[in-house]
Symmetry: C2
Subunit: 354 residues, 2 copies
């Protein structure tokens, strides 16, 4: 490497360095890279060689400033830990990459205030558009995005009447469907292990769905048949313990997520309660493990949501027409953990192990 080259290489290489080495103007070097059709083959070659030699990487800040866009999109999820979010984010990132965008990821920890802050930060850091989870957010969040005309999309929920763009599914409808499945099997005493509903419309809606199914049959779901737990296996276990400790333990349990259902299943095993003979358990998500534990559950279209969210926002950024309300299908996957009730056994066992 020549001395002169060395000297250049020691600093941060910019386009003018490339141009100097390629013996052309900066403007030409720029065109050689972004619009080769406007430049002679010879010069293009020289520029490419110079880029190679110097290890030039364009300065995105300068480019963004000039072009007024960053090719960055942000996503705010409650937590990355849940495999269901991870799947969606993964699909989102993959599609964005294909479309020429990069993904800034941040978490809200199921906290509206934090979600607002993190979204603002994402925008400050260059996000041109944002993917949100759920339908409820701090009103200031919507204001913030509207004031800056920043495209956004709500996922994991579907409530077009609220006037926001949605790509997702109706959580209440989904649990209503799964509850109806249990009611049809003959269950009358159903319990609910929900995730914490604070700042979490998905959890809230899922509980509401169970209540709706009850009401549709002219009944009411007793409040003491609902328990809120952290979204962990232990949360599921604790939830089931709680439900079984009530006066009238349920013969079937709707869980707000598969993780909770795994915990509930685990507690059944520990107690020697046979599933589904003595108690039915259903989940939500269709987690990878669900199939192997024969868990009856709702399949959530995580991958499709991620992909479509990417498509939507990029189309929006490019002023292409867009469908603001996309309801995706959730599917009840009936496996082996839900069956008609055998009340007596279930209750007897529950009382015994009390």
């Amino acid at each position: 490497m020549s001395n002169r080259l060395q000297k250049i290489a020691d600093k941060n290489i910019k386009l003018s360095d490339v141009a100097r080495l390629a013996e052309c103007s900066t403007g030409t070097a720029s065109r050689a890279l972004s619009r080769p059709d406007m430049v002679s083959k010879e010069v293009i070659k020289r520029v490419q060689e110079a880029v190679e030699k110097l290890g030039y990487t364009p300065n995105n800040a300068a480019k963004s400033l000039r072009l007024r866009h960053t090719n960055i999109i942000g996503v705010v999820i409650p937590t990355i830990d849940h495999s269901i979010f991870a799947q969606a984010v993964s699909a989102l990132e993959n599609r964005l990459y294909q479309l020429g965008y990069s993904l800034l990821v941040t978490t809200s920890e199921f906290d509206f205030k934090r979600e607002l802050q993190k979204t603002q930060l994402l925008v400050e850091r260059g996000s041109e558009a944002v993917v949100l989870v759920g339908r409820m957010h701090d009103p200031k969040l919507y204001e913030f995005l509207a004031a800056r005309r920043i495209p956004y999309i709500n996922t994991y929920a579907y409530r077009p009447s609220e006037g926001h763009p949605f790509i997702g599914f109706d959580n209440a409808k989904a649990t209503r469907q799964i509850t109806e499945h249990l009611l049809t099997l003959g269950h009358t005493d159903i319990g609910v292990i929900s995730g914490m509903t604070k700042d979490n419309d998905r959890a809230t809606d899922r509980v509401a769905g169970v209540k709706e199914a009850y009401r549709a049959r002219g009944k009411e779901l007793p409040a003491e048949r609902i328990t809120e737990q952290p979204l962990t296996i232990d949360g599921g276990r604790d939830g089931l313990r709680y439900l079984l400790s009530r006066d009238k333990p349920p013969t079937a349990v709707v869980c707000g997520s598969d993780i909770l259902a795994f915990g509930a299943l685990s507690e059944c095993t520990a107690r020697g309660l046979r599933v589904p003979e003595e108690i039915s358990i259903v989940g939500f998500d269709d987690h990878e493990m669900a199939a192997h534990l024969r868990l009856t559950t709702m399949q959530v279209p995580a991958v499709e949501m991620g992909q479509r969210a990417a498509d939507y926002l990029v189309a929006k950024l490019q002023d292409r027409p867009v469908v603001d309300h996309v309801e995706l299908e959730v599917r009840l996957i009936a496996r082996g953990t839900a069956a008609p009730p055998k009340r007596k056994n279930a209750r007897a066992k529950a009382e015994k192990s009390q």
Copy 2:
């Protein structure tokens, strides 16, 4: 809102707009926001009000261009789908947020070429530093980072002799330890269900660790006792099926990840093979489910790795002193799926179900 205000608000608000409304110069407005100590209380107040009124968000591209840093750090992981990576990324993001940085996330799909491309893209999009998974990468990747003096850190591996910065653990040492545990229990015929080793040094090293443990006892692990499978539950099932179909089926199986172990366990259940009485199964990761399936496994310090990676890179970016080689502890968590062998039964069953 006044007409004039409206007019300003219709465009993208910049600092000069704020300054105009606050009746001061752009420079003063800038200082009012970033170094309030240099500005009079009055002006600060006027500027803050103007910011509020106009909904001003700083243009990060301009700021980055001027300040020559972006406050963005990138991470390239093989896939987000694995909960173990998700945990680390989560911890990484949280710590980076505390330190004032945002996180660009991308995936390599266990492919060196793609890892190189994605890393380059991350840098183009403004990453000042990058977190990598594993110790082996395309040589060009190291060249690329070195040429631009971009700080990076290898995680999920530890091999200081290779001259790169590491925050992680020695995968070979870890499986060597877990294999010794099995050997000490009395097993002599051990099988391995590994993840695909192509472009994956963690998987490669984990297999190597089992071999080392064998050699330390003057034995050799037969090649046909090793099977590579995709990192899924089905991969684990297939792996176990394969191992049990060999001439001399193993009495214990080392799995390259908990997911594979779950699959192996599932296959045992399906065959009526009792664990650990008839066959021992051990995993790697300490996945949330592992405790509930009583899986003996290696605990990986995912959260600590994520946090320390953040600390390391930020310190490096700020020219603070830094420790380049941090070996984190992995811990053997002995639960219920590993016990002394009862050869005859295991082999008989295996042959029968053939």
